[in-house]
Symmetry: C2
Subunit: 256 residues, 2 copies
C-alpha cells in the first residue's frame, strides 16, 4: 500500500510554531508536503492573488518533508501545491495549527479555514486546526493525540462532498481536554472599534479593533463545546445559498 | 419621513465605472454615503486589515454624496463606515456594480460579496451587484431599472436575518434582459493553470490562471438563469455549517 500524501499549509507563515508542530504530527501518517505562505497571512479570508505573480522557494532540499514557501495567500498555496507541485492529488490537506481561534463567525475571516475550504472545493478531504492561544509560544502538544485522531478519521472515512472540518482546540493542559464534540457554528459577531490616531505629520489613521459578541449558549455550538474544554469539530460547506429563504424572495415584485 | 441611508461600496476601487453608475442609481432612493477602496481589491475574499492601520480620504467636500476612499479591503470599508463614519446604521448597503461575474462559486473569492456579507453580519440589509463584463467601459446602464427595483424591494421588505443578496447581471442590451430569477448557487469550480515564467534575472514566477468548470445545468441555478439572459438573485448566508453532515461525523471514533 502506498502512503497517503498529506499537504500541510497555514496562514501564520511557514515558520510559525503551529505549522512546525502540525508537520511533526502528520509525518508518521503519510508522505508530508508543505506549501505555506512566506509571511503571516492572518485574516486574509478566501483571498487569491491575481494581480501579482507568485514566487515559490524550495526549503531544505536534503531532508523530508518537501517544503516550499510561497509568496501568496493560503488559498494560493493550496492551488499551486495541488496543480503545480504535487504529482498526484493529495489524500488529505491539513491547515494550521492556527495561533488563535477560528470558531463561530471567525471562520469567515480565517486564512487557515480558507485553505481547508479551497481543498474541499478541489474534492480533497481537508481540515483546518486552530488553538485558542494567539501567543508565539503556545502549547500545541497537549492536543497532539486528538489532532492525529481527527486526521486519521478523515483519512479512513473521507469527508462528504462539498465539506471540510473546522477544528478548534481549547488552550488547556492535556489532562483537562474532555474529548471531541461535533457541533455547529455559534451565532456571534464582532463589534468593531476603531482606534483613531495621528501620525507624526498630523494625518489621521485608524487601527481596527473589536470585541467578540456571542449571541447564544446552545450546547450544540462550537463556542459552548470550547467553553467546556471540548475540542470542537464543525463540518463547513462552500454552498453559501440560504436555501430556506428562496421562496420568500421569489414572492417579491421586481417589475414595480 | 426621513430618507433611507444607503452605503455604497465595491471591490474595484472608488473610481471604477461600476460604482460610479451604482451611486447615480441609488441617489434618488435615499441619502447616499460612499466608502470604497482607494485601489482595486478584486479577489480579496473576506479579508480584513489588522496588521496595518487604515487611512480615509474625504473626496468632494462640497457636493453630495459624502464620499470617502479607504486604504483597506471592502470588508474594512463596511466596518469603518458603519462604526466610524455614519451617524446611524444604514438602511441598505449596496456593493458593486462589479466588473465581472460573482455567480456560482465565485461568491467565495469575491470582495464585492464580502462587503455585502459583512453588512448582513452587522444586521444591515445588503446586496452585491455584478455585471458579467470585465471591461472598463462595460454597459452598466442596461440593467438600471432592475438594480433599482431590487434595491427598492430590499428597502421595503428587508432581508431575513443572516442573509444578503448576490445579484448577477448578464452583459446584454436592455431589451434582451428577460427579468429576475431567484435561484441557488450552481455547483462549479475553477481548474487552475499556472503560467510559469522567468524574470530577467532567471528566477521563476507563476501567474495564476484558470478555467471555470460548471458541473450542472439545473434550471434552479444562477448559471442557468444567466445563460438565459435573466438577472440572477441568490440569497447568501454566513452560517457555513454543513448541518446535514453533523450526524455522520458524530458517528466517528475519536479515541481510536
Amino acid at each position: 500500500m502506498t502512503k497517503p500524501v498529506i499537504l500541510v499549509t497555514n496562514d501564520d507563515g511557514i515558520m510559525a510554531p503551529g505549522i512546525r508542530n502540525l508537520i511533526h504530527f502528520m509525518m508518521p501518517l503519510g508522505e508530508v508536503v508543505v506549501v505555506a505562505p512566506d509571511k503571516p497571512q492572518s485574516g486574509t479570508g478566501h483571498a487569491v492573488t491575481t494581480s501579482n505573480p507568485l514566487r515559490l522557494e524550495r526549503i531544505l532540499k536534503d531532508y523530508p518533508p518537501l517544503e516550499y514557501s510561497c509568496s501568496g495567500t493560503p488559498v494560493d498555496c493550496v492551488k499551486i501545491a495541488v496543480n503545480k507541485i504535487l504529482k498526484r492529488k493529495p489524500d488529505l490537506i491539513v491547515s494550521g495549527i492556527n495561533h488563535g481561534s477560528n470558531s463561530s463567525i471567525n471562520v469567515i475571516y480565517s486564512g487557515t479555514m480558507s485553505a481547508a475550504i479551497e481543498g474541499a472545493m478541489e474534492n480533497i478531504p481537508s481540515i483546518g486546526f486552530s488553538l485558542l492561544d494567539f501567543s508565539f509560544d503556545a502549547d500545541f502538544v497537549s492536543a497532539k493525540k486528538y489532532v492525529i485522531s481527527i486526521a486519521k478519521n478523515v483519512l479512513k472515512h473521507g469527508l462528504p462532498k462539498g465539506t471540510c472540518l473546522n477544528v478548534n482546540i481549547p488552550a488547556v493542559k492535556e489532562n483537562e481536554l474532555k474529548g471531541v464534540k461535533v457541533c455547529r457554528q455559534a451565532r456571534a459577531n464582532w463589534e468593531e472599534n476603531f482606534d483613531h490616531r495621528q501620525d507624526p505629520s498630523g494625518k489621521d489613521y485608524y487601527w481596527l479593533t473589536g470585541e467578540f459578541k456571542l449571541h447564544e449558549n446552545n450546547n450544540e455550538t462550537d463556542e459552548w463545546a470550547l467553553s467546556k474544554n471540548y475540542i470542537s469539530v464543525v463540518p463547513v460547506q462552500f454552498d453559501f445559498t440560504a436555501h430556506k429563504v428562496i421562496p420568500e424572495i421569489k414572492s417579491w415584485n421586481f417589475n414595480a
